[in-house]
Amino acid sequence: MTAAPLLEVRDLEVVFDTRQGPLRALDKVSMSIAPGEILGVVGESGAGKSLTGTAIIGLLDPPGRIAGGSILLEGQRIDNLPAEAMRRLRGAKIGAIFQDPLTSLHPMISVGDQLVETIRTHLPLSATEARARALELLREVGIPAAETRIDHYPHQFSGGMRQRVVIALALAGEPKLIVADEPTTALDVSIQAQITTLLKRLCREHGAAVMLVTHDMGVIAETADRVAVMYAGRVVETGPVEAVTRAPRHPYTQGLMASIPSMQTREAELRQIDGAMPRLNAMPPGCAFHPRCPVVEERCRSSVPRLEATPHAAACWKVAPEALS
């Protein structure tokens, strides 16, 4: 993190207005991504990692809304842009990849037409030029016989091939940042590694940074430069991926690392973190992790620990003494 960050999320708060009152789904989430960097965002279901991605691409649907904090892209605030201006950013500056390639593509429009449409939305190209570019993108993502495949419909592609098309679509407008929300979760295990490698290589070639949202610590370890660990709508630890995986500081990250099966050590049983993440309408006071924390102490139950401002930072009383105001 030496250059000016491409994306900076500062104290982001997302609230869902419900009949029972507002539910705070993201609580003072901060993270930043440097140009070309891959940031892994990891956590269990409901930790708010996808929601952070959705807020960044500006597709938060009511009743969800940004209640506080800011999102900056290349130093400009984008969280309060008018809908039309945000629409122009999507695809051109920020691309997105979603979890399920089977349902991400329009079933009745050929992949070529979907690509051409996206390309021409963002780049001043003629139909012929756009088609040539679409073909080039399909080749780049490794679609065999791209010349014929370009006129095929999504149902004629396998899941892995469709996710390649999705990646081509996300890259079509040459975005600086790609928010990839669980890009491999819906795929066969054998295909997952291929897609992850492809994504990593292409983003490097196109100079795009990636926010890789996943619950799979293994994918993060192989792919990401830095990692942000989320728990119950907060970032609990962030840092370079080697540092966080080798020497996790937050008890939650430690638990997460211990629950990954290892090839080296043969253990009879995998360790697991007891209990479940608190629901949004039943958040405990203090540190949200304290009911499950093995090293909990008195002040954890009453006040929220602040995320440190160091390169490898954790939000835990054991490592950070300052309370979050």
């Binding site: 597709l59 979603f98 329009h106």
Partner: protein, 330 residues
């Protein structure tokens, strides 16, 4: 595609045969045709002669075969009431009904689809809620009531539009059209609007429901994530996905409109098939009723087949299925 087509056509032929049997049964067994055709003073000899001429002395199966063979050639016999060839009678009336129905269908699509899209994508707006509310009226008001109200307002009070008839028609071959004369066009307006009112609300509500469903899908979310303009997301991506049910319903409704235009035709004294049928029922003119039944079913079956074929054109997935093994008949 060919296998698919042949399958659909065989299907259609089977349905028509069944309907033909029904029409034949009405013709043969609702009252005695001989009694209906001759006056009361006719002698027994005259009765027997007519019986032989109508072929009623032959075995049942033979009679049915003759009936079908004649029907295929467009020969449905002679109308009891005005002693004219039934088929000619219906063919004369058919253009009037079809023009009315086509205009009503056109109106229902041109008005219904945009209203449906609008009320789905702007569903929080007061106008969208108003449309939704008014559409309940459209569904629940019977067309004869609407027709009479229209006549009262636009013909009697305002005197803008004719209250009945087709106005001046132009003959093009056997087809008579009202589109080419001023009075013909004026006369079409009220009946067509009356007939289309229910269709408009039907199409609108269908499009709205389908749009709301489609707007929640992943591919719409992904289209928005790629920064495509709203107009493209709504009309190119979302609406396209809603067209299948609209095609189905419109196709089937055209059949319904032709069959049930008779209420509207009666209200506006529109010289179409519906009016002919109503008159035939009043006079127990059985050949006309049987022929009407056959022709309306033929239209239904044709439309159904066309709808199935259109699916394959709109949805590439079905085209694939159809080519693969003719399994596209959903």
């Amino acid at each position: 595609m060919l296998v698919f087509l042949v399958k659909r056509l065989l299907n259609a032929a089977a349905v028509m045969l069944a309907v033909g049997f029904l029409a034949f049964m009405i013709f043969r067994f609702v009252g005695d045709p001989v009694e209906l055709m001759l006056n009361e003073q006719a002698s027994q000899q005259q009765r027997d002669e007519l019986r032989v001429r109508l072929g009623l002395d032959k075995p049942f199966v033979m009679q049915f075969a003759t009936f079908i063979a004649n029907a295929v050639r467009g020969d449905f016999g002679i109308s009891y009431r005005n002693q004219q060839d039934v088929f000619t009678l219906i063919v004369e009336r058919f253009p009037a009904t079809l023009e009315l129905v086509m205009l009503a269908t056109f109106l229902s699509l041109v008005v219904g689809i945009p209203l449906g899209v609008y009320s789905a994508i702007r569903r929080e707006k007061p106008l969208a809620k108003l449309i939704q509310f008014v559409s309940v009226l459209g569904v629940s008001l019977p067309s004869f009531a609407v027709g009479i109200l229209f006549i009262l307002l636009f013909s009697v009070s305002l005197g803008w539009l004719p209250a009945f008839g087709r106005g001046q028609v132009v003959q093009i071959g056997w087809w008579s059209t009202g589109f080419l004369t001023h009075s013909g066009r004026l006369a079409l307006i009220l009946p067509a609007v009356t007939l289309s009112l229910f269709q408009i609300t039907l199409v609108m509500r269908l499009v709205r429901a389908e749009m709301l469903e489609t707007m929640r899908t992943d591919f719409i979310r992904f289209a928005r994530a790629r920064g495509l303009p709203d107009s493209s997301v709504h009309f190119r991506h979302a609406l396209r996905n809603c067209l299948m049910p609209v095609i189905t319903v419109t196709g089937l409704q055209i059949g319904n409109l032709i069959a049930f235009a008779l209420v509207t035709e009666t209200v506006f004294q529109w010289p179409g098939m519906g009016l002919l049928f109503v008159q035939a029922v009043t006079f127990v003119d059985i050949p006309v009723m049987a022929a009407y039944l056959m022709i309306v079913s033929a239209i239904f079956v044709t439309l159904n087949t066309l709808v199935d074929l259109t699916y394959a054109l709109v949805d590439p997935r079905l085209k694939q299925d159809a080519i693969a093994g003719g399994a596209g008949g959903r």
